[in-house]
Structure formats: C-alpha cells, structure tokens
C-alpha cells in the first residue's frame, strides 16, 4: 500500500474538524473494507484517513420517538444482531446478513455502504424501502436528508466535501407491517449482488393491502421507491396474480429508468421472479411481521 496519514478522531465534532483541516485531503475511515482497497488502486485518493471507527456514539443503535437511529460506524454484524432492528425492520437485518462473509460483516459499516453508494450496495434498497434519512455533519452545522435524495447515482452522493455521515434513521413501520429482502448473486457468500429487492407491506382486517413499498437494487441508476408498483398493489387483496401484475410493472419501471441494456435479457426474468417472491413473503403470512 502507499503512504497516507492516519489520525484517530476523539469525538464526532473533532472528526469534522480533522476532515476540514486545510491543505490536506482527508477521508473518514470506518470499517476500511472499501477505502483500503480504493487506496491500493488509487494512492492519490486521499492524504489522510480520519478514523471514526473507535467512536462509541457512532456505533449506537437506539429507538426514540417512533424512529430508529443507527450510528454510521455500526458494523453490518452489529446491525443484524440488534434486537431493535430485527423487531422493527427485518428487511434491513436480512440485507446486512447478505453482505460479504463474516469477516466483512464484522468490519464493514452501514455508513460506509451508504456513503460509498455502490449501485450494488446491499443496505441501500432496504434503507430506502424504510424511508430512511441521513444525518450529515459539516462545519456549518447539521442536516437531515432523505436517503433517496442523498444517494444521487452509482457511487455518487450529495455529501459535501468535508461533511461526515453521522447516522441513518428510519420511522418505525406501522404496527402489522412486514418486510423482506432478496438478493441474487453468483454464490451465497462474498457475492456482489446482481439484483436485490426490498419490500414492505401491510394489510387491514379484511386482508386488503393498505401499504406496499418496493425498492430494487442493481437495477436502476437511482435507488428509489417504485410508486407505479406500489399503486398496483394498494387497495387490492394479495394474490399470486396480483404479484405477477406488480412484477410486470416493476420490470417496465426498470427498463423505463435504466433503458434496455445488455443484461436486461437476464434481469427481466430474474426481477420478475424476485418481485413475485418478495411480495409473497410480505403478504402471504397470517402472523404479524
């Protein structure tokens, strides 16, 4: 590896100061599983790493006023083992469980996955399905942005230079909501996702769908809730035929947003099956969540 500096932040505000120290190109270091590889390929990527991984407050996961707040340096393992997450957002726990293998889940962080914003980031569809927001700290102050606006495209975010992603938060889905996440990769372990789907939904006492959300990953340039798919489902009773209709709309949306690409021949049947399956997992259960 090539020469770069290292400094450990003493607090979150100290980290922001260090990131904005003039004359140095600094980058935050959390789990390091992406940035250390980046530095191997591109030594000029930055001059100095500001280590935020040792700040306990950035690992905290807590429930407050109907929201769940996750510190940006919480590792995938910390997220997927957390009882608050498994009780309120199985979709996120399932997404984190599909990341890499044990070694990567023990080091890699939710904040790193979001801030790198790879098109194939496993946590992004789950978080956007949960209507998550990102809290950003800059020398000018604090800002809370919907995650679907924070991530502007593959490897692109609206994070200002010198800004630090501090936490991710999502409103706890209404009582009776269920959620699920599916990933398609070349193998189970260490696979980069080829396609992912994250879904959330709820039915009323008459088993009529009152809420449906669907987000795809590795399918469209922007990761966002697909409103057209959601409208297909709301107000109807969940049936296999309805999931087929929703899957057809999902595929149309992927092609409308991403164009018909070389991979579409493979992605169309795969996304169709995954959409049907994920809605079956969300709606075809009597028990709650």
């Amino acid at each position: 590896m090539h020469q770069f500096g290292y400094v450990q932040a003493a607090s979150v505000s100290d980290a922001v100061l260090l990131l904005n120290e003039p004359g140095l190109q600094s980058r935050p270091l959390a789990g390091g599983t992406d940035i250390l590889l980046q530095l191997k390929h591109e030594p000029q990527f930055c001059d100095r790493l500001v280590d935020i991984s040792q700040l306990t407050e950035l690992h905290r996961i807590e429930q407050r006023d109907g929201w769940v707040h996750i510190g940006a340096a919480a590792t995938f393992a910390e997220v997927l083992e957390n009882p608050i997450i498994s009780a309120t957002a199985p979709v996120l726990a399932q997404a984190c469980a599909t990341v890499g293998a044990t070694q990567i889940r023990n080091m890699g962080t939710l904040g790193g996955n979001v801030a790198n914003a790879a098109a194939c980031a496993d946590s992004l569809p789950a978080l956007i399905c949960l209507d998550a927001t990102a809290k950003i700290l800059t020398p000018a102050g604090e800002e809370e942005i919907p995650l679907s606006e924070f991530v502007t495209g593959p490897n692109c975010t609206s994070l200002p230079s010198g800004g630090l992603l501090v936490s991710l938060s999502y409103p706890i889905p209404e009582e009776g909501s269920r959620s699920a996440f599916l990933k398609l990769g070349r193998r189970n372990a260490m696979a980069i996702s080829r396609l992912t789907v994250a879904a959330l939904g709820r039915v009323d006492a008459q088993r009529v769908i009152t809420e449906a959300r669907l987000v795809t990953g590795s399918a469209t340039p922007r990761i966002e809730r697909l409103a057209a798919v959601e409208q297909t489902l709301v107000g109807k009773k969940p049936t296999a035929e309805l999931y087929r209709q929703a899957a057809a709309v999902t595929v149309d949306e992927m092609i409308r947003l991403a164009g018909y690409r070389w991979s579409s021949e493979f992605k169309v049947p795969a996304l169709t099956a995954m959409t049907e399956r994920v809605f079956a997992q969300v709606f075809d259960h009597k028990e709650v969540r």
């Binding site: 090539h2 599983t33 280590d51 991984s53 890499g100 044990t102 070694q103 023990n106 189970n188 260490m190």
Partner: protein, 160 residues
C-alpha cells in the same frame, strides 16, 4: 507511529507506518507468519485473525486501528505446551489440511463460530467459513473437524 496492543494474551509494542496493515505488522514486524496473505483484497480469508473476539481480515485492517485492542492469531491457539488444541488436532485427524495455506484462517473461523454457537449445524458451519477459501480439501473435512470439535467440547462440558 507507535503501536501497542494485546497479541495472543501479551502486550506488544511496535513501530509501523500509518498505512501498514495489521497483516504486514504481524508478519514483518512481529515475525508471526502463521497468518497468511492470500488475495490481499479481503476475498479469501487466509489472513483471518480475531480482533476483540471477532473474525476479521487482517489484510483489510489498518494496524493503527488495533491500537489498544486485543488480537488473537493462529499462534495464540495452541495449548500452553505448544501442541495443537482440540480443533487443530481434529483438523489433522480428519484430513482437513492439505497444502495448509487456508488452515490458520479456517481454524480461527471455526473458533469464532464455536465461541458464539456451541452446537452449530453443518449449514451454520458452512456459513461461518464462507469467507475462507480452500482450494484443496473440498471443505467437507473442514466442516467435519469443526463439527467433531463442537461435539467433543459439549461432551466434556456434560462430563464435568
């Protein structure tokens, strides 16, 4: 920069550059060559060590990040007299070692699993070693070795 951390139960001090990985510090500074460099990009698990009890790839961990923490390498696994521990012995007995390059990482992945799950199923063992590649054995014997050790440790517990 100066580093100080607990390595296999002993406090060690060493000098390393800010960009040094834990892997290079273990092998080049401290002479513990049991930890292997395979792919160097976090895919193969040959460089696995335990950091505060958690399995990590030492090739993707900055040495600076372990300052003040606890690291266990394969050298810290043996019995006090230097002989292999029960899991290592099981690897030998069932033929889970061929070229041996993946073995240190595999043993540590096995120990990390057994520390949090005393009775893992074969599927759970396979999931636990999913980040460790072996190109010789076909994995069956490695899964056997971990499973046999889990059973023996359970028996020992009930006997005691």
């Amino acid at each position: 920069m100066k580093l100080q951390f607990n390595l296999n139960g002993k406090l060690v001090e060493t000098e390393a550059s800010a960009d040094a990985t834990l892997l290079s510090v273990l092998r080049d500074n401290l002479g513990l060559t049991g930890t292997k460099e395979g792919c160097g990009v976090g895919e193969c698990g040959a460089c696995s060590v335990l950091l505060d009890g958690r399995l990590v790839n030492s090739c993707l961990t900055l040495a600076a990040q372990v300052n003040g923490h606890k690291v266990i390498t394969i050298e810290g696994m043996c019995l006090p007299d230097g002989s292999p521990n029960d899991l290592q012995q099981a690897f030998i007995e069932v033929g889970a070692v061929q070229c041996g390059f993946c073995t240190p990482g595999m043993v540590l992945a096995g120990e990390a699993l057994l520390a949090e799950n005393a009775r893992p199923s074969r599927l759970e063992i396979r999931t636990a070693i999913a980040g460790n590649l072996c190109r010789c054995t076909g994995y069956q014997q490695i899964v056997d070795a971990i499973q046999i050790t889990a059973q023996k440790r359970q028996e020992k517990k009930t006997d005691a």
